[in-house]
Amino acid sequence: MKLAARGTRETASGGAEPVRDPAEARLLRAQARRVHIEAVIVGVLLTGLSMLGAAWRTGSV
């Protein structure tokens, strides 16, 4: 994701090389956005579940 934001891709040697094709870079950025949004949604859901569990345990709900 960090690589996509920088417009680079990982190489087999562990380094990074620039993505020169604008269409490819655009697609990668869009993918990175999706990844970020999905991770936030999953994080919120799991946190919410945990909080719900804690609330149930403490008798708040």
Binding site: E10, L28, L52
Partner: protein
């Protein structure tokens, strides 16, 4: 080395090859890692398909003027295996037929090669070659703005047997044999190639065709590119699993300890970070 190995099934349809009439797009071949318009060949992968210049461009069909140039009629015979249609043949056919290929036209070139098959039987195009538009026609196609190219042979623009290629011209087939060669599609002219390949053209009973028409593939493809290596993908996956597991364990411990729900909001950090790793691994981004 592992003693035990396995394989998984793949159900799909390969709509390519010498046995199936199909359309090639400029995404079909690469030259020095680039496709048409200098775009990266990384935009096309076996797993994800073509992200640009894909055949889906034609999903609504193609409507344009079609022009058939009958080279066989012009020469009064079918073209031989490996014989190339030259630009002067196209000019002569236009003149003889009283037509002119204009920008946006779909150009169909008839070589009459199928007549040879009916009379003398099938040949193996991989061994014997096939008539096709010669690479020398590429500038002609470009100049006329041909939108699509179709032919009645096994390949729109190649498989000329080397010994049959006229001297003084490098054939697409010759260049195809070079590492990273452009192959048999005239993508330089941004021409979509339609092959009138058919089972009947194939040498009957030859092993090289065995099974080809029986493959069936149904795939749902969402555009997805990879900018991390399989190693990076694995690292992100492992990190994601570890961090999410740690978050779940922490949540269980905190809940069991009767901690106030507000404190568990802090678990968003491991849950988000772990999910990020897992989704990154899945998306290869």
């Amino acid at each position: 080395m592992l003693e035990r190995r396995g394989a998984s099934e793949f159900i799909g349809m390969v709509f390519h090859g010498y046995t199936i009439t199909h359309v090639d797009t400029p995404a079909h071949y690469f030259w020095k890692g680039r496709i048409y318009n200098g775009r990266s060949c990384n935009l096309i992968t076996s797993r994800e398909g073509a992200q640009v210049e894909a055949v889906e461009l034609l999903h609504d069909g193609v409507v344009s003027r079609g022009v058939l140039l009958d080279i066989a009629a012009l020469k009064g015979r079918w073209l031989q295996s490996g014989e190339g249609v030259m630009p002067e043949d196209l000019d002569a056919a236009e003149k003889a037929q009283g037509v002119r290929v204009e920008p946006g036209d779909i150009l169909l070139i008839r070589t009459g090669y199928y007549g040879r098959r009916l009379e003398h039987g099938p040949r193996n195009p991989l061994k014997d070659g096939s008539p096709a538009a010669h690479v020398a026609c590429a500038p002609w196609f470009r100049e006329r703005g041909v939108a699509m190219l179709g032919t009645d042979t096994l390949s729109a623009s190649g498989q000329c047997a080397p010994h049959r290629v006229p001297r003084g011209h490098g054939s697409l087939a010759d260049r195809q044999r070079q590492p990273g060669g452009p192959g048999r599609c005239l993508s330089g002219a941004r021409t979509l190639g339609v092959h009138a390949d058919h089972r009947a053209s194939a040498p009957a009973g030859d092993d090289w065709l065995a099974g080809e028409p029986d493959r069936v593939v149904l795939m749902a493809i969402r555009p997805r590119l990879a900018n991390i290596t399989p190693g990076g993908q694995r690292r992100r996956f492992v990190t994601g699993v570890i961090v999410v597991t740690a978050g779940v364990v922490a949540a269980v411990v905190l809940i069991a300890a009767g901690v106030s729900p507000g404190w568990l909001a802090l678990l968003f950090v491991p849950f988000w970070f772990g999910s990020l790793g897992l989704v990154q691994a899945r998306e290869k981004t």
